[in-house]
């Protein structure tokens, strides 16, 4: 073969391309450390679809050495949509306590909790409130777009995955995610590409006045489902149970235990707060699964000493106060928030006296 591909001196290297890669990397590093960029992302995110991006932005904005007490509320869409944080913060501002909404759509499995652990602890919170759902522990991994390895990727998770899961889980659930996570570790834009595409594009549209900026939504649901929805869901879930033990359950329980232990070792108060469930919910979730889920949390609570509030300790919500099986209507949201004010008055009493 006649070739002349030898690069005899550095002048022959594709310098413009190399320089552009370097520049692009520097740009990402710069933006990653720029609070204004994250404020911009948070300002332009779409409710529900961009929750993962919002969570990371909010987490970055929490001042570690603030003069006020910080309560981080992490968890599923139930917590995300069922609590009015403006009301909570308005009530507790006089007590120098601030609540941060770190809920996301989906289940916020302990994988995500574990991968974010260092970043959560770096904010030096006073209280961490976790709002799980039975599905958080008793379900396969990939149910919602916000439950992905790549957004909060931390290589420490790999041994856990290897220990509990099998090749078919990897192949079925997160083969692509792992590759994306590794690339995303080096590229901020790649990691949040499915969110930045709309953030950059829609904000440009808003800025140019091409499209009017809509009001930020508070809830994914606009109106409650009718009775036929519940009937269909009950029939389908009885045929094909959604909440069930999987190999992920062991992994989730182990990661949760590690998280709780590490939080406790830092003297951070940890609360596991259940969220309201529709009266028909027992029809789609077997009592055994529910008992196992609640039993695990209760055991952990006894062993580690964190506060666990199961569903039975919450106020009773009627069927009319739900949009679906798990999400409250806006009036019910207000009622639940009022309950939480009283709840946190009790639970954060120690904090107020510090």
């Amino acid at each position: 073969m006649v070739t002349n591909l030898s690069i005899s001196n550095s002048k022959k290297l594709p310098w413009p391309f190399i320089a552009s890669l370097l520049l692009f990397t520097l740009l990402q590093v710069g933006l990653d450390r720029c609070p204004a960029f994250w404020r911009y992302a948070e300002h332009n995110y779409r409710f529900h679809s961009d929750d993962a991006l919002r969570l990371v932005s909010v987490l970055r904005r929490i001042p570690p050495d603030a003069s006020f007490k910080k309560v981080l509320m992490i968890g599923t869409s139930q917590g995300r949509e069922g609590i009015d944080f403006d009301v909570l913060n308005a009530h507790f501002s006089s007590q120098n306590i601030r609540f941060y909404d770190l809920g996301v759509i989906g289940n916020f499995h302990p994988i995500d909790l574990y991968m974010l652990k260092d970043r959560i602890l770096a904010t030096k919170p006073d209280v961490v409130v976790y709002s799980p759902h039975v599905e958080t522990f008793y379900a396969p991994y990939k149910l919602q777009p916000a439950n992905n390895l790549e957004y909060y990727f931390n290589p420490n998770i790999i041994p856990g995955l290897a220990k509990h899961l099998r090749w078919e889980d990897y192949d079925k659930d997160f083969r692509g995610d792992l590759l994306d996570s590794l690339i995303g570790s080096f590229s901020l834009f790649y990691k949040f590409r499915n969110h930045f595409d709309s953030v950059f594009f829609t904000s440009l549209q808003y800025s140019l006045g091409v499209v009017k900026r809509p009001e930020q939504k508070m809830s994914f649901f606009t109106k409650p489902y009718d009775g036929s929805y519940y009937k269909r869901q009950i029939e389908s879930k009885q045929e094909n149970p959604r909440y069930r033990y999987t190999r992920y359950t062991d992994l989730y329980q182990e990661l949760f235990t590690i998280f709780v232990r590490d939080v406790a070792s830092r003297n951070i108060k940890f609360i596991v707060l259940s969220c309201p469930l529709h009266p028909l919910f027992p029809k789609i979730c077997s009592p055994q699964v529910m008992a196992a889920y609640q039993g695990f949390l209760a055991d952990q609570s006894r062993q580690t000493g964190f506060t666990y509030t199961p569903n039975k300790e919450l106020p009773v919500f009627t069927a009319g106060e739900f949009n679906d099986f798990t999400h409250l209507t806006l009036p019910a949201r207000k009622r639940f928030t009022q309950f939480l004010i009283g709840y946190f008055e009790r639970e954060l009493k120690d904090l107020q006296h510090e």
Binding site: V2, T3, N4, S20, L21, F24, Q205, V211
Partner: protein, 479 residues
């Protein structure tokens, strides 16, 4: 195995590294095996078709060259053309003609239950059959000496960078490059890499994102359509198909370059044209020039029985209808071809009869006149693309077209559609304006380093955030 997939990358890297280590003879063998693996990755059963076409045309060409007897020569030419067209007709058009024949018989009251074949269309069949036909025709015309090296000829037919979507290479250009040792130089290697980069950008960033804009309108199968949405979706589709197909051609040329081949340019700034004839000189050049040389000119010469310009119009109409039909077995494609045939006839008529029109010859007037013609041509091209894209049938295409005239009203989707299209095509337009002004397709590659860095940063940003990485198929693979 798509160019825009990880699988292709994993295929290419070892093949290329090995390629660089081998001598010419073994390079050709390697490329042949790689090409067959590449093609077989879609459906290995269709390898027999490509092998059959290769074998028949190889022997036909050799037999044509071995005799001066015109009858024998013609017989072998016919055999070659018949075998290629039979394969193409059987796999691509059988069901279409059977269905339409059945419908036609039903119109005349004859109950017919057409027989349909349960077959899938082999990828790239229209490309490689045209390529092999050009070989035997050129040998018949004595424009080319046939090769007696079967494996090298097989490589010419199946060369993987351009196998499934062109450019339809003539043997006169590609075969000598196969037969002679090639030189891979660093500058050509970089040029090739640039073409691959730009081609992938056109495909994965612009075409695949515009596809989402287009799909919102064209996925609707029943009227009424909003005319304004249809118009802007057609604009978006015009850019989408350009970026999809030109992107593929750039990648093919780039792959060729890094291996020491020079493949033909398939697109040459087609949006800067001022007339329809020029458009077809710059759009899918390898197909339009193929049909010009092997169909239009022979037709024109053969139709001496037609008087004056009628001969030109008839040849143009047949030629363009065949272009339409080449794209696919559907009435929308035929309508697409007929539409361009009519435009070409109209242009030919105007050119012959309206030469004395006063047009600005200099200054701003000339520039504005040029811009107006470019914009007008873009409208005509977009109408053609509307017909092309209407895969839900010719009647849907006509409904859509009529909505542009009779239901041209504003809707809330229009502004987001326009802004999304502009958001993606501005880089393409900027690059093409520079290419047009410098008359150099590789002007960006040769630009000042600062501009190059800026260009790469913008492209890498778009790639990272907007690049569609799930390996969407190229539109022209279906043809």
């Amino acid at each position: 195995m798509l160019f825009n997939s990880l699988k292709f990358f994993l295929f290419l890297v070892p093949v290329y590294l090995l390629y660089l280590r081998l001598n010419h003879r073994w390079q050709n063998r390697l490329l042949l095996v790689a090409s067959y693996v590449f093609y077989g990755s879609w459906d290995w059963r269709f390898l027999s078709l490509i092998l059959l076409t290769t074998t028949v045309d190889y022997f036909c060409a050799l037999n044509i060259s071995r005799t001066e007897n015109p009858v024998v020569r013609k017989r072998f030419l016919m055999l070659s053309i018949f075998s290629s067209l039979s394969i193409l007709g059987f796999f691509k058009y059988f069901n279409f003609f059977a269905g339409n024949l059945g419908r036609l018989l039903n119109v005349f009251g004859i109950a017919a239950d057409p027989f349909y074949l349960n077959i899938i269309l082999p990828v790239g069949i229209s490309f490689y059959t045209f390529q092999t036909m050009s070989y035997t025709i050129d040998v018949y015309r004595k424009a080319l000496k046939p090769t007696d090296r079967f494996f090298d000829f097989a490589l010419y037919v199946s060369f993987f960078p351009q196998l499934v979507a062109g450019p339809i290479e003539r043997a006169v250009n590609l075969l000598p490059q196969v037969l002679k040792p090639r030189i891979v130089r660093l500058d050509k290697f970089y040029e090739g890499c640039f073409l691959i980069f730009w081609g992938l950008f056109l495909k994965a960033v612009i075409a695949d994102n515009l596809a989402k804009v287009v799909e919102t309108v064209y996925a609707v199968k029943v009227p009424p359509f909003n005319g304004m949405e249809v118009l802007f979706a057609s604009y978006a589709f015009t850019f989408q198909i350009y970026c999809d197909f030109a992107g593929y051609s750039h990648i093919a040329r780039g792959l060729g370059k890094i291996m020491g081949f020079e493949l033909m340019i398939n697109f040459n700034l087609p949006f800067f044209v001022t007339n329809v004839q020029d458009f077809w000189n710059r759009w899918h050049i390898s197909l339009s020039s193929w049909l010009r040389d092997y169909l239009y000119i022979p037709l024109f010469r053969g139709m001496r029985f037609l008087a004056g310009n009628v001969r030109v119009y008839a040849a143009l109409m047949i030629n363009m209808t065949v272009i339409g039909l080449w794209h696919g077995a559907g009435w929308n494609y035929i309508l697409f071809g007929v539409y361009y045939g009519c435009l070409l006839c109209a242009y030919t008529f105007i050119r012959m009869h309206c030469q004395n029109w006063i047009v600005p010859k200099s200054g701003w007037g000339k520039a504005l006149w040029y811009a107006a013609r470019v914009v007008f041509m873009f409208q005509l091209i977009s109408i053609g693309m509307l017909l092309f894209r209407s895969i839900n049938g010719a009647s849907v295409a006509l409904h859509m077209l009529s909505s542009v005239i009779f239901n041209f009203t504003m809707s809330e989707n229009v502004v987001p559609m326009i802004s999304k299209t502009v958001y993606f095509i501005w880089i393409l337009l900027a690059v093409q304006v520079i290419q047009y002004r410098t008359k150099d397709v590789l002007c960006v590659y040769k630009a000042h380093p600062v501009w190059k860095v800026l260009f790469y940063v913008v492209c890498i940003f778009y790639f990272t955030v907007y690049g569609v990485t799930n390996g969407n198929q190229f539109i022209y693979f279906q043809f």
